[in-house]
Symmetry: C2
Subunit: 311 residues, 2 copies
């Protein structure tokens, strides 16, 4: 690719070869094999050099794009001045949507999204600088956080009931938490000890629900498959969580109220982290999260959630 671009820029193989510190014959060979692999002629050879064919012209910007992509890939792991590295608990839940929102507002900033095993790993990674910011629920009080780590509540995500069409509550316009008592709720794929498991454990304990928050995870497809067929099993899903399922599954989202359980997402960062984008990032979410410290009357969140301040 580099050879192709150099030759296209120079208009001749000799000069390109000099730029690349190889012989003209090597450039000729490289272009020949590239043309053979692609199955088209990229240059027309003339007596005074070479000229791009139409195919070559069409190919050139893609070749440049490839080198840019390579550069970005290398930059993503380069220590110092890499893209802002963000940890989210899952790529499907609300924080991922917030990230897309941020990206729309700041299209020039580069983000790398990763997912760590649990909150402890996230705290350690934030403190060490391996990641710059994390979206998590924070279950421990500020006094027990690692040194220099700050948190701020940025989003309360209401939960809804997710059922198949034959479920008893499928047709309800809204359901209270009390109505869920006795129904089996299944939320697989959540590792024990994570803040997700804590949240659902606390929710189940507070209202006497039956929530299987942990258990074998055969993938989202399997969960949806079982829900679609079951008349007794339901699941909980964040209001902004995007699952894609086929229409014929006919799954239903039923709002919860009295109270509505909300999941408290916080921003986690190190206050000495010098990354230039971090301040922009925090400002962006600070402007979108006011009043979260005062619990809404109609909602429920765990006790540990109310100990977190907003930015």
């Amino acid at each position: 690719m580099r050879t192709f671009i150099a030759a296209a820029d120079a208009g001749q193989f000799q000069e390109a070869a000099a730029d690349l510190s190889v012989t003209q014959q090597a450039v000729s060979k490289r272009i020949a094999t590239l043309e053979r692999d692609l199955g088209v002629r990229l240059f027309t050879r003339t007596a005074r050099g070479v000229q791009l064919t139409i195919d070559g012209q069409a190919f050139l910007p893609h070749a440049r794009g490839l080198l840019r992509a390579e550069e970005r890939a290398a930059a993503s792991v380069r220590p110092g001045r890499r893209a802002l590295r963000v940890d989210v608990i899952s790529r499907r839940v609300a924080p991922a949507a917030l990230l897309r929102d941020f990206h729309r507002a700041h299209p020039d900033t580069e983000l790398d999204v990763v997912t760590l095993f649990d909150a402890d790993a996230a705290f350690a990674a934030v403190q060490s600088g391996m990641i710059d910011v994390s979206f998590r629920a924070v279950t421990v009080p500020a006094s027990q956080l690692p040194d220099g780590v700050r948190t701020a509540r940025v989003l309360d995500e209401p939960h809804q009931l997710l059922t198949g069409p034959r479920h008893e509550l499928a047709a309800a316009h809204a359901v209270t938490l009390a109505q869920l008592v006795g129904h089996r709720i299944w939320i697989p794929g959540i590792a024990p000890g994570t803040e997700w498991a804590t949240y659902y454990d606390d929710l189940a304990a507070a209202f006497g629900l039956t929530i299987d928050a942990i258990g074998p995870n055969f993938g989202t497809d399997h969960l949806l498959d079982v829900l679609a067929d079951s008349s007794t099993l339901a699941s909980l899903i964040g209001q902004q969580t995007r699952f894609l399922w086929p229409d014929y599954y006919d799954l239903r989202r039923v709002p919860l109220h009295d109270p509505t359980p909300v999941y408290p997402h916080s921003l986690i960062w190190h206050h000495e982290n010098p990354h230039p984008v971090l301040a922009t990032f925090r400002d962006h979410f600070r402007s979108r999260s006011t009043g979260l410290e005062r619990p809404d009357a109609g909602t429920w969140s765990p006790k540990w959630a109310s100990r977190q301040a907003t930015p």
Copy 2:
């Protein structure tokens, strides 16, 4: 890259090696050299396979992007179902802006923009299917077009005078063509025999202007440099043509009137071209170009331009 992605997906080198039809040792070596080149560890080795590090997680989407870019690059020259290939007379003038407009309206369609030597080459390329559509001024009547080739006028681009700050006409709010008589107009970088040269020749002949449409082309920078310093030399520039020049050049755009010379851009395509995007493309510009067949009273365009129909 492929090896890295395969290993990340499989979670172990053995299986990745099987997928790639190489030995486990080869995969191990490839990953090791990739890690050495990048200077970071991408996997943590465990007794039951490997797991991505944070750096590995951040790197993974970039690696996938690199392969997608490679795929797009190869597709750009693959005969059959490649991106719509569009020829423009220059990447700086109005059609390029129209293309960006189309791309905004249809973000999913892929475009490859190329620039052919002259209109004859464009006609031949359109007829042979090497390119799908061309933006050009058409100087020949429809009866003399190659078989199956259709044209449609889509944009009239008004021209302006471009001068340096010390030029006699620099401070004028507007200038008539009659006022330009006797002034030297210099438009380098236009090959003789092209439709551009024809246009400026006709313009000069119609109003008795002095236009050097051809001549040595030392690049845009040189033209701007000369204009900025000269009190006698000016150039013509399309109203929508985007040149970037430093502020201290202090160049002026002076509108022309009585009449305003407009450059007639046409769409050129082959009516049997089966490319799926071509219809969308023509529809897009058809809706944006009404009434061009009736010449505006205050404008001038060459005689051959009025022979072209709108889509």
